[in-house]
Symmetry: C2
Subunit: 281 residues, 2 copies
């Protein structure tokens, strides 16, 4: 391995060695930096530009491996030292690569202790309907889930437990929010995800799907007793308000997570994980 | 109800009506404010002072209902308007109450959009061993869990699913970290929690307990096939490194969560929830 982690290379030496030309940006007024800051903050801008940001070595490498199109790579000198092989691979795939000072990187970062690697990536198509909903298919539907940390964790669980796809109502948190991308641990690049206007409408176009609305009211069937008929989708709602009435009405079944304890509710990402777990196992 | 949410009272009128005398603090140099800022930031200071902070109307009311001793209440004028009945109850229980300007409140708050209610509370005793570990008892043991959001969510799940108690190694995140207190949704006030130096030692002092170490290596028994013998404890480890070798060696069984998908791992709070769910159901 040529990049011995015990030896210290200057970033310029490394770049020369890697035959990468990288401009050093040190002003927040640079157009690329302004663009990245807007991508962090604005879902509207992400939609308009058709791009989003992925931050951290691991998530960026997930993007690369999944074939996502990398427009811009931003890296600090220190991150280049520490992750030379990964940065070389990302830089080769990226249309443009820039080295940033730590201060400038902090401005585009969404984390408190930035790793110093961030890619601007072409948005993945999340509007294409699932080709086939085969018998045996198991899906997760999300109705107005708002918290990006919850959404990221839910996508991570959905992938880990092998659901076939996730259908999200359009009023959910943006799937390309930086916290979602990071929290999903790359699932956002690999998992089939469809964003649709309204779940009730989508369900009506897929009548073969058996739908299970997760609710907290006690008259619903306990998920421990539910026999999921496939193809099926379990529906998880908003953190505070649950599933919208019109979505619940469009579902075939209502199910609930029985709780022994005194707490009123579960964290939304925990509830979603238990439901997925029971559906797929 | 005397506090009609549609009418606007000045905070002074409300205070007079409620017969509460509350000093308005508007300087960050005030000793009470400095104290609250330190409680937010420093686990060491929380230990030394024997106090911690609980933020938000709901969590503060949880503290009050559970009989926790409230030393100081801080409230903004706006929060007082909005939650007059709760603030009156908290103020009656608190040794001291202060009204803060929103700017000063922001300094003591651990949230991005503060609700404007924060209590300094006398630390609960988390060192007393469980009196009895009865047959049928089901416990959760945490080995070096570091992330306060994870720990809060895990305590919330543990309470919701009715575990009998939680044993934490001393190198876990501080149970009185503001993010833990808030994320636990009050479970920290109600759930029996014991912080002990080393789980292996504690297990050796409780040989009747059947211990199940949750690991990711494939040779462990699948949790779906595990028959938990009671009294039992499932052991969850650090987010990155899992359970410490000496803790795993001290456990009777190793178990694992089978995953169908491509993801390497689950969020720690999700993994803990699935394990608790399988243990208690």
């Amino acid at each position: 391995m040529i990049f011995d982690s015990n030896s210290v290379w200057s970033s310029q030496t490394l770049l020369l060695y890697m035959e990468i030309s990288m401009l050093l940006l040190s002003s927040k007024d640079n157009a690329h930096i302004k663009n990245a800051v807007k991508l962090k903050k604005s879902a509207k801008f992400r939609r308009q530009s058709g791009t989003f940001a992925a931050e951290g070595v691991r998530v960026c490498m997930d993007a690369l491996r999944s074939g996502a199109e990398i427009e811009t790579l931003f890296v600090t000198g220190q991150a280049l030292q520490k992750n030379a092989a990964e940065v070389a691979a990302l830089s080769e795939a990226a249309q443009k690569s820039f080295e940033l000072t730590p201060e400038i990187f902090a401005a585009i970062s969404d984390t408190q202790t930035p790793q110093g690697v961030l890619c601007v990536i072409k948005a993945l198509d999340k509007s294409a309907d699932f080709d086939t909903i085969e018998n045996g298919g198991k899906f997760l539907a999300l109705d107005n889930v708002q918290d990006p940390n919850n959404l990221g964790t839910i996508l991570r669980s959905a992938e880990a437990f092998g659901v076939n796809g996730v259908i999200m109502s359009a009023d959910c948190c943006d799937v390309f929010n930086p916290k979602v991308v990071r929290g999903s641990m790359g699932a956002v690049f690999r998992l089939p995800v469809l964003v649709t206007g309204c779940l009730a409408d989508w369900f009506s176009r897929h009548p073969q799907l058996h739908t299970y609305a997760a609710v907290v009211h006690g008259c619903a069937e306990k998920v421990t007793q539910t026999v999921f008929e496939t193809p099926c989708a379990v529906v998880v709602g908003n953190e505070g308000n649950g599933i919208k009435p019109e979505t619940e009405q469009a579902c075939e079944h209502t199910i609930t997570i029985p709780m022994n304890g005194k707490a009123e509710s579960l964290n939304a990402s925990v509830a979603a994980a238990i439901l997925i777990w029971e559906m797929v196992k």
